[in-house]
């Protein structure tokens, strides 16, 4: 390796600047690469797999630290060579890893059934790990060189990362997702130039850099064309892939931005009528044809875009669930909470005297306002004289407006993902929280109606039960003394949609008559209405049957429920008049194996072998066997019995409105309301049941996002343990033998790693509340946190000599701030949400600043002291532990948030910093003198 001399901060000022700049650029490239990979996964497959791959790839930092730790003397001696080589390798590895990974796309929906898919996922992880390893070796080598003034280099690292993140987000406007890796490549190239310019012998390195740069560009742009291979392989199972296969498909609009990769396709094969009543088939003269475009964001969708329909064609609106509020409100002033593709708005315009619609995604509004094709197709809907447009989150608008509306409509907002395979990421749904519902109810005029429609395609029901609980909780908040049973009406169509109406002041008898008639005409099922009577005898069987349908009759919780007084379907008398047949009766009674001797009878635990020809052998009885010959014999005039999901919906409403001994906590899945603290429809599996999901993962495919978090956490925890253990096993008595207090040092850096990332991830989720958009929130948070922490790191140098006295105060301040934020942040963010947008951004920065600034101190102070005390091995190891526990923390956040709420995440982070305080002093324990060899 060349021994060229590099200028360091101790040398000339200009070179010192270049040195820090190079570090900042590489740190920026690393974070830009992280975000790029996540975007690539979002568009090509599903975002949560991207998060998993990136999280685990970040383990590269831990791995690097272990390697460097094991040979720290060698690395200290050859630090510059290591930095040069790893820097040169970083760019080519970005291109190669991405291109090869795109040739082995794994498919989420076959992850259980096809073992090859797991290897493909592993291959993606290993490939994307490689550039991070290169980046980590570069930064590790530089950190080691600068260990005595770590605060400065850490400042460059953090500020560079913050700026890199912001740059990438800006570049989302410029590049399509498949070309996003150009951004980290550009940062890498710039870093290389700056780095080698700072060196005295630089011509050879610069030449190599230029050659590699050209190869990278050719590898990314030219090679895939020559080999006819994709730069970004979009899964065949993404919504947009289907549109692309329609014979007459045509992409009529495309736009890349931080708000998603937006595409609009036209095809005569696109049909939208979400939740359409089956009766439309017999009563409508015609359905609109060639009436739709399909809108896709990051390949997810379609969101229907409807053309301006003729009077004859709009007759079909009557059969859509979003018509419900207009059944009882004539010519209302209407607010549509989310524009989406515009179907709800179109229905509202047809039935209202005036409509206000909100849309939080500026690029959707931009498309409908500025693209001639879309404007023409949609009849320039956004310029309709009856329509006002709010260009930010409808939830925020309604929470703060003095205006009142006769109808507020939330129809299938944000819910395209509810029906897509492999989707179901843990996403905050602030439009559906208790606080949001309260805001909608508050903005209703007297006698106004809030109408919420949600997909009802889950069996057992999940999302809809959470919605019901949320709306009732909000109504109770709004008026604790009201008789809520008079204010709610709900109807659903089995495996289609559910609609809840809340009327401020309660429904009149006339309203209910109209709603009864409409629901009957649509053949929907009523779940509740004023005066609805639910037969509570069905409760125990219903709850028990649903639990057993997932976990089986032997389930411990079912037994516990039975012990707690819930009658067992098989042990107790069956409730009469219910259609629910408890599945404790064996539905799988084996028929006699005709090829086997009477072996079954030898097994006393086996159900008796049944004669398949004898009806009596079917324990559910011949008439209850739906697949038998009589399965389809239907009496034309007989009213069909309600399906179990309908009974469950009725039970839920009864429980929520009246109680009367019904308790939804016994239901197989989590039905707690969504709140701003816990805004998730996903994560419906109760944590206590998680261990019972592992042998039946195929039935939890709609919970992938959540289960993957546990998988990520498990893998990260094992990886972190191994990374911690390797130096322990190899060097506890050698490398670290002269460094006392190892355990406390591990604890210290683990707490910092966990605490920092948990605050960052939790606040990204929280800041969506006032900012209304996850992309903007992520930009503000990533930049704000890293830059302010960088400043904290730089400032910590001034207190380095007094660290033992100042750091305990810093830790207490961080802990107190974070715990306090956990308690008060929701009302503060609500208040910020009322301000003009620019002021909101400023306030968010100001809110981040105090904890982020202080959180810059602990890492740089401890690392600097490890460096000053020449604890090189510990210095590198600590850095790795910090990185590894960051990965664990990132996976922990949504797991804690879904169970306990985002506030708890902040408070746990605060506690982590408080725990770190006493451990901090282990840093200063003096090195033991080397034992003399005997």
């Amino acid at each position: 390796m060349t021994a060229s001399r590099i200028s360091t901060p101790t040398a000339q000022p200009r070179s010192a600047f270049l040195f820090y700049l190079a570090v900042a650029l590489i740190a920026g490239a690393v974070i830009a690469l992280q975000i790029s990979i996540m975007r690539i996964f979002s568009v090509g497959s599903w975002a949560h797999f991207g998060s998993m791959v990136v999280s685990l790839a970040m383990m590269g930092f831990g791995l690097t630290s272990v390697v460097m730790c094991a040979a720290n003397d060698w690395f200290e001696k050859h630090w510059q060579g290591v930095a040069n080589v790893s820097l040169l390798a970083f760019g080519p590895l970005i291109v190669a890893a991405n291109l090869i990974a795109q040739q082995i796309p794994f498919n989420a929906i076959f992850l259980i059934s096809d073992p090859v898919q797991k290897w493909k996922l592993f291959g993606n992880f290993v490939l994307y790990l490689t550039p991070f390893l290169a980046g980590a070796f570069f930064l590790g080598a530089v950190f080691l060189r600068m260990k005595e003034t770590f605060g400065r280099i850490y400042f460059a690292d953090l500020v560079g990362a913050g700026a890199g993140g912001l740059l990438l987000l800006g570049c989302l406007y410029l590049f399509r997702p498949e070309n996003l890796v150009v951004v980290p490549l550009a940062l890498w190239f710039a870093a290389g130039i700056v780095w080698f310019l700072a060196q005295s012998k630089r011509s050879g390195s610069l030449t190599a850099l230029f050659v590699l740069g050209v190869l990278c560009i050719a590898g990314h742009f030219w090679l895939p064309q020559q080999l006819a291979i994709p730069k970004l392989a979009v899964s065949d199972y993404k919504g947009v892939s289907y549109a692309r296969k329609f014979p007459d498909n045509q992409r009529v609009y495309e736009n890349a931005s931080p708000f998603g990769y937006l595409e609009v396709y036209s095809s005569s094969y696109l049909h939208f009528a979400p939740g359409l009543s089956d009766n439309a088939g017999f009563n409508l003269p015609e359905m609109p044809a060639n009436a739709y475009l399909g809108m896709y964001i990051d390949g997810e969708g379609p969101f229907g875009v409807m053309r301006n329909l003729s009077d004859k064609e709009v007759a079909y609106f009557r059969y859509l669930p979003m018509i419900y509020p207009y059944v009882i409100k004539k010519d209302p002033s209407t607010f549509v909470v989310q524009f989406g593709g515009g179907i709800s708005t179109r229905v509202a315009l047809h039935n209202s005297k005036h409509v206000t619609v909100a849309e939080g995604n500026p690029e959707i509004l931009n498309a409908f306002r500025n693209d001639k094709g879309l404007r023409d197709f949609s009849g320039d809907i956004l310029n309709d004289p009856k329509l006002d447009v709010i260009d930010y989150d409808g939830r925020l608008y309604l929470a703060n407006t003095d205006k009142r509306y006769d109808v507020i409509d939330v129809s299938l907002a944000d819910s395209a993902g509810l029906s897509s395979p492999g989707g179901f990421a843990i996403v905050e749904k602030y439009a559906y929280t208790r606080e949001a519902m309260r805001a909608y109810m508050r903005a209703l005029a007297d006698g106004g109606v809030l109408s919420v429609t949600l997909w009802n395609k889950e069996e057992p029901p999940k999302s809809v039960l959470k919605l019901y609980a949320t709306m009732v909780a909000a109504a109770r908040d709004a008026d604790p003394k009201a008789d809520l049973s008079k204010e709610f009406y709900a109807a659903a169509s089995y495996l289609s949609t559910a609609t809840v109406l809340y009327k401020r002041g309660g429904f009149s008898a006339e309203d209910i008559d109209k709603l009864h008639a409409h629901t009957h005409a649509m053949s929907f099922d009523e779940l509740t209405y004023p005066g609805f009577e639910f037969d509570t005898k069905q409760t125990a069987d219903s709850l028990k049957s649903y639990r057993e349908s997932i976990f089986g009759a032997d389930d411990e919780a079912a037994k516990a429920a039975a012990a707690a007084g819930i009658a067992s379907g098989s042990a107790g008398p069956k409730a009469k008049g219910t259609s629910i047949v408890p599945t404790s009766e064996p539905t799988t009674a084996p028929m006699a194996d005709p090829t086997a001797p009477a072996a079954n009878s030898a097994d006393p635990t086996a159900p008796p072998a049944a004669d398949p020809t004898a009806p009596a052998a079917d324990p559910t009885g011949p008439t209850a066997d739906p697949t038998g010959p009589d399965a389809n014999a239907s009496s034309p005039d007989a009213a069909p019995a309600p399906v179990p999901a309908t009974v469950m919906g009725q039970l839920a409403w009864h429980s929520l409105l009246h109680g009367n001994g019904t308790d939804l906590s016994d239901y197989v899945f989590d039905t707690r309301p969504l709140t701003n603290n816990r805004p998730y429809f996903a994560a419906y599996v109760k944590p206590g049941d998680l261990s019972r999901t592992t042998d039946r993962l195929e039935i939890f495919q709609d919970e992938w996002g959540y289960l993957l978090l546990w998988a990520t956490l498990g893998i990260a925890a094992v990886a972190a343990l191994v990374l911690v253990a390797i130096p322990v096993l190899l060097g506890w008595r050698t490398i670290f033998s002269r460094t006392p207090g190892q355990l406390r040092v591990i604890l210290y850096f683990a707490c910092l790693g966990l605490g920092y990332i948990m605050v960052e991830v939790a606040l990204i989720a929280k800041f969506v509340l006032p900012l209304g958009n996850p992309t903007v929130s992520a930009s503000i948070l990533i930049t704000g946190m890293l830059v302010f922490s960088g400043l904290g790191s730089l400032t910590s140098e001034r207190f380095m000599e007094r660290a033992k006295t100042t750091m305990p105060i810093i830790f207490i301040a961080i802990g107190a701030l974070l715990i306090a934020y956990g308690f008060v942040i929701d009302p503060v963010l609500d208040a910020i949400g009322r301000l003009p947008y620019a002021l909101r951004l400023v306030c968010c920065f100001l809110l981040i600043a105090p904890p982020a600034f202080l959180m810059g101190f602990p890492m740089s102070t401890a690392m600097t002291w490890l460096g000053r005390l020449n604890k090189n091995a510990m210095f590198l190891w600590a850095w790795g532990i910090n990185g590894s526990f960051s990965v664990i923390g990132a996976a922990l956040v949504p797991i804690i948030a879904t169970s306990f709420g985002l506030a708890s995440v902040l408070q746990i982070s605060g506690i982590a910093y408080l725990i770190a305080a006493p451990a901090f002093f282990a840093i200063f324990l003096p090195m033991r003198t080397a034992r003399r060899a005997t």
Binding site: G275, P421, L495, A599
Partner: protein, 301 residues
Amino acid sequence: MDRRQFVLGSITALAAAPVANLARASISGADSKVPVPFAWDVKVPIDSREEFVAWAVKNRGEDPKFLTQRWNRMYAMVQNKDLTDERNKRAFLLTPREDFCRPVNRAHAYDSAFLDIGFGVTISGPHAVGRMTQVLNVQTGEKVLEIGTGSGYQSAFLSHLTDKCYSIEIIKPLAERTRSVYDELIGDGYNEFKSITTKQADGYYGWEENGPFDKIVVTCGIDHIPPPLLKQLKPNGVMVIPVGPPGAQRVLKVIKHQGQNGDITVSRSDIFNKVVPFVPFTKLVDGEIKGAHNGDAKDTK
């Protein structure tokens, strides 16, 4: 079934392989034919695997390895009540599922899982297909419309129950590929597949010139039931639609009721209209039921 019997059965099946190869080569080999063409009164030995394999090798010229797997899967489906009558069991046993899977997945043709067939489409698992077909309760001579031909397996299954199957596929290259699979199999002597009429079109509008239909099966994702399909369904006809993500799908059953006064109403239900465990809840290992997810079915020996 005990282990000895299983081993013996497997040896018998393997020994029969050369015979099968002589009788009929794979789907790509056009020179060999099904020895005995399908007839509506065909008697298929259902109750014994060995007898079935021997019969099918002789009469259908199929690979005993797949025949063994097919019978084993049928056994599991019967355990789960996905198949409950002789006609549907027979139809399952007569349908060479392996010929409708992609070559890379052929070895897994009789696994319980759904499999990728390209174009973002899967061939549903045998339990799901069996359950849907059973609930349709197709009678000979009834007209059945399938929306979403996909692999072609569903209609192939149906063609052993009725001689009037119509199937529409929206994805042109898939429609063409599956048509060629049918044509090759017909060339091999599977005459029953001649009763499957296919076309590439938008299934949303049904197939009016061939309607009305007694039964309709819809296997494509859509946010509502297309009104034209309900119109083309005969009074008291049945439609089944799988809903939900693959693996956790529920089968929606839609019945078009016609009252005595001529009024038409539509009812929706789960095919069982009761809470039942998800399928597949039996695990088949080497032809034996090993464990059950719902906890009440025991291992069979």
